[in-house]
């Protein structure tokens, strides 16, 4: 998670103390990624060490601002897409990948239990969204609603993927098993013709 770049972005608007940075970071990302002061201090120390941030002279408590290198680093972050090529290890993908080849596991039940759970999470997120006005007025509300939307779309994608998995597994179960194949992992009595 880009706490480092996030802090550069915050310091670009004005110099801040460590506690302000922490508070602003949380506020402007809707409180979805809370930071502790230790993370903030450590990150600030590294940014100073790397010459991207400097202390405002004779500020007490210490306030920090961007250096020219810091501004360049931030500009680079804004202009570079977030790399998606290395997927994070995802417990659900691993679970399903193992389930389809494991004997005696009912993949349909795993899919349904997960769909219910993800749908429940999606419903909770939607309630938080419903608390915001349809036309958000403040920049903070806009930031928060965009973060929520991101979580909403991710949850939706997971439900759609689970629907897809269910259909794929049902189709695979219809194919006659070859003698060398493992025992069928799914309930082959499933009526998928309707």
């Amino acid at each position: 998670m880009s706490v480092r770049q996030g802090m550069l972005a915050l310091l670009a608007s004005e110099p801040m103390h460590a506690y302000q940075l922490r508070q602003q970071f949380e506020q402007r990302t809707g409180g979805t990624w809370p930071l502790n002061m230790g993370q903030v201090s450590t990150t600030l120390d590294r940014l100073v060490r790397d010459g991207l941030v400097e202390q405002v002279p004779s500020s007490d408590p210490a306030a920090y601002r961007l250096t020219a290198d810091g501004r360049a680093e931030l500009a680079h972050w804004w202009s570079t897409p977030v790399v998606r090529s290395a997927p994070q290890r995802d417990e659900l993908s691993i679970k399903l990948a193992l389930a389809v080849t494991a004997p005696g596991v009912d993949v349909r039940e795993i899919v349904q239990a997960q769909r219910t759970e993800t749908m429940r999470a999606l419903t909770d997120l939607t309630r938080l969204k419903a608390d915001l006005p349809a036309q958000v007025e403040s920049a903070d509300d806009l930031a928060w609603s965009l973060v929520l939307d991101n979580l909403v779309f991710s949850a939706e994608a997971e439900v759609r993927w689970l629907d897809h998995v269910e259909v794929r597994v049902a189709r695979a179960a219809l194919r006659p098993a070859t003698p060398s194949s493992a025992p069928s992992p799914v309930d082959t009595r499933a009526d998928v013709t309707r």
Binding site: G31, T32, Q112, T116, T123
Partner: protein, 245 residues
């Protein structure tokens, strides 16, 4: 989110089964479905094509009759009524919202909304007043004199929601109401539907889009005509996102 008052059961399905055809080729479109929808509650039904969700909606709305089981609507059991009484109860209690809006193109928004009330036997003047009020509830009173083809998809669907809940109607049956709308407009329509239900109605929503089903209080999943799972009633606030405001 502010707590929502959930009222008495408005719609109740018990052991609802619908079989098409006979003998070995018979298909059980629904098989022993139990479902309650309370006043103030929106319930989403999800399931793959052929899972029975449309059949359920048709039976609940009195457009189809179960092979066995009962539907109770506003305290009256549908199967205990003759066809005429059933039609009357359906007309006065239930409104529909469809994917393709189903507005009458030659009538204005206000006329589309007042039509069901005129069919109820309410005088034209009173019906028009109720239609205006219903359009105000969905935020488009200023479009009352527009024809459907002068409105956007989202506006047309708001008219349909107003029509579904005009007068004494308290149950809205929505069949893929966001299917013809883009993502943001679909969300606006769900917000309006949600607000109308919170204000004192009940809804059954059939959709294949998880993001719109999430506007419901809960989702039930149908598979091969059977309710296989559901998200349950509302979560307690403390189980929502931790660390958020």
């Amino acid at each position: 989110m502010s707590p929502r008052a959930v009222g008495p059961v408005l719609l109740s399905a018990r052991g609802v089964t619908r079989v098409h055809g006979e003998g070995p080729s018979a298909v059980r479109a629904l098989d022993g479905v139990d479902l309650d929808v309370r006043l103030g509650e929106l319930v989403a039904v999800m399931g793959a094509s052929g899972s029975g969700k449309s059949t359920l909606l048709n039976i609940v709305g009195g457009l189809d009759v179960p092979t066995s089981g009962t539907i109770t609507l506003a305290g009256e059991e549908l199967s205990g009524l003759d066809a005429r009484a059933r039609a009357r109860l359906r007309r006065r209690s239930v409104g529909y919202v469809f994917q393709d809006f189903n507005l009458i193109p030659a009538l204005t928004a206000a006329e589309n909304v007042s039509l069901p009330r005129e069919l109820d036997g309410v005088g034209g003047r009173a019906a028009r007043g109720e239609a205006r009020a219903a359009l105000r509830e969905v935020g488009i009173e200023d479009l009352a004199d527009r024809f459907p083809d002068e409105m956007s998809g989202g506006q047309r669907q708001r008219v349909a929601i107003a029509r579904a809940l005009v007068g004494p109607r308290r149950l809205v049956l929505a069949d893929e109401p966001t299917g013809a709308l883009d993502s943001t407009t679909g969300e606006d329509v769900m917000r309006v539907l949600r607000a109308r239900i919170d204000a004192g109605a009940a809804g059954l929503l059939v959709t294949h889009e998880p993001r719109f089903a999430a506007w419901a209080d809960r989702t039930v999943f149908l598979r091969d005509g059977v309710v296989v799972d559901g998200t349950g009633r509302r979560a307690e606030p403390e189980s929502l996102l931790t660390g958020t405001r």
